[in-house]
């Protein structure tokens, strides 16, 4: 339902309470984005943006989760398989 994509904060152009605004770079496309909902976000952070509004700061550690899980899952399944062979 809700198209939202990640972009990197390049600069903060307004610090007004209702219109804290940044220039956000989406792989070479730059748009002004409202940062009111991500008060912790700073220059260099990646934020998830939906209709001109940042909704979340991307957690760079958690970004690896899907790959980490895949590796753990496969390790587990391999050790199970080799375990089967031994028994």
């Amino acid at each position: 339902m809700c198209l939202a994509i990640p972009g990197k904060i390049k600069s903060i152009i307004s610090d007004e309470p209702l219109s804290r605004t940044a220039r956000v770079d989406f792989g070479g496309t730059i748009r002004e984005v409202n940062l009111v909902c991500v008060p912790e976000a700073k220059i260099g952070d990646y934020v998830l943006v939906h209709v001109g509004m940042a909704l979340s700061t991307i957690d760079e550690t958690e970004a690896q989760q899907v790959f980490r899980y895949l590796r753990e899952m496969e390790d587990l399944s391999e050790s199970r398989e080799s375990g089967d062979e031994i028994s």
């Binding site: 339902m1 809700c2 990197k8 792989g27 909902c37 998830l48 209709v51 001109g52 790959f67």
Partner: protein, 375 residues
């Protein structure tokens, strides 16, 4: 693009597909709630990678599709007035009400502008003080903070010429409605990651427990979706019914508190009509009393307008996951994107339209390897 491309890696997707095949022992039916996820699934062809035992049903999470005809008729009435600049998201403009769509109003002389953000509509109101600027505020929880922010900015700037036509809907009541239906087939859900970015996922915990369904908070890229499916199937196989977060780079359990506060300041929970489904109690958001000066329905006197929706297509059943588009006799024959019979065929995010665009499938031919060498 960072945080996008890495989640489209076909090798990693295939590794998850293999893992899904390994753990699946029986038939399972799961639903992705969100139209954006449906779009990704058919665009990348993800469901054809899954074992036959798994059926994916596509949920009602397309705000464009579920906006009731009544409200579109109100939008059309307001947009036809000469003093109005009517602002809308692009894909809403092609959805018909009971008669016309917004594009036809534009063709007949209405001043209708497509905007990227509701905040752009506020800017238009500032730049055009002698016109009435109306924004068509549709969407789920994801869009509510931006729409709320637009009204707050308008209030702060003292704008007297900005109003919103609100059609906000909420996900948890829709999930409950689907699960409460006697002919429900859904055994597990992929929750919409971007809704959860705002709301967190505590709301889903009692639902998972009460209805004994796994709910996996899932992102939108192929790898996110395929991992969401894996985790959902794993829970089903292990007879666990929990809320699990597979989109932790964006979502945390509590959600975005600031965004929730912004929404809470402006909106209150109301009963809402869903197109093709009907009224669901406490399933939408409306403006609070203290913001009623920004309510376009009141300003333009259309609040009382009621219309009956025609009863011809099965979009209601499709939105509730009881049928798939090919089950409908009109699908692809009487009903196509040019001649839509139902909302799910109108929006490119709608299930029928997504099926129609991407799904009338033919097998791939040979000689692929021969051609590779020419490139």
């Amino acid at each position: 693009m960072k945080f996008l491309d890495e989640y489209r890696d076909p090798t990693a997707v295939r590794r998850y597909v293999r893992a899904i095949a390994e753990i699946t022992t029986r038939d399972w039916t799961i639903m992705e709630i969100c139209g954006g996820q449906t779009h990704s699934i058919v665009k990348f062809g993800l469901d054809s990678l899954l074992p036959d035992k798994i059926t994916l049903l596509h949920g009602p999470g397309c705000p464009v599709c579920v906006t009731p005809a009544e409200l579109i008729d109100k939008a059309i009435e307001i947009a036809s007035r000469p003093e109005v600049i009517f602002c809308s998201f692009g894909d809403m403009m092609r959805v018909p009400g009971t008669g016309k769509d917004l594009l036809s109003v534009k063709a007949a002389g209405g001043d209708i502008r497509m905007v990227y953000s509701p905040l752009d509509a506020v800017r238009l109101a500032r730049e055009n003080p002698h016109r009435q600027v109306v924004f068509f505020a549709i969407g789920f929880e994801t869009t509510a903070p931006a729409n709320a922010m637009a009204v707050m900015q308008a209030k702060q700037s003292g704008l007297k010429n900005f109003t919103v036509l609100v059609s906000h809907v909420l996900v948890p009541p829709a999930i409950e409605a689907i699960l409460s239906s006697p002919d429900n087939r859904v055994q597990g859900f992929l929750a919409a990651g971007h809704v959860c970015a705002v709301m967190g996922y505590t709301e889903y915990e009692p639902i998972a427990e009460q209805f004994r369904v796994p709910i996996v908070v899932t992102g939108f890229e192929p790898l996110d979706i395929i991992q969401g499916i894996y985790l959902c199937i794993k829970q089903l196989e292990e007879k666990r019914f929990e809320v699990e977060n597979a989109y932790s780079r964006v979502v945390n359990r509590e959600g975005n508190r600031t965004a929730q506060r912004v929404m809470g300041d402006l909106f209150r929970v109301v009963n809402r009509k869903w197109r093709g489904i009907g009224e669901i109690p406490a399933s939408g958001l409306g403006l609070k009393e203290e913001y009623k000066e920004f309510d376009a329905e009141l300003r333009f006197g259309v609040a009382g307008k009621k219309v009956e929706e025609a009863t011809e297509c099965i979009s209601g059943l499709i939105l509730r996951g009881m049928k798939k588009p090919p089950d409908c006799p009109a699908y692809g024959t009487k009903c196509t994107p040019e001649h839509p019979l139902g909302a799910t065929m109108v929006s490119s995010e709608g299930t029928c339209a997504a099926y129609y665009s991407y799904r009338r499938l033919a097998p791939l031919g040979k000689s692929e390897s021969q051609r590779q060498k020419n490139g």
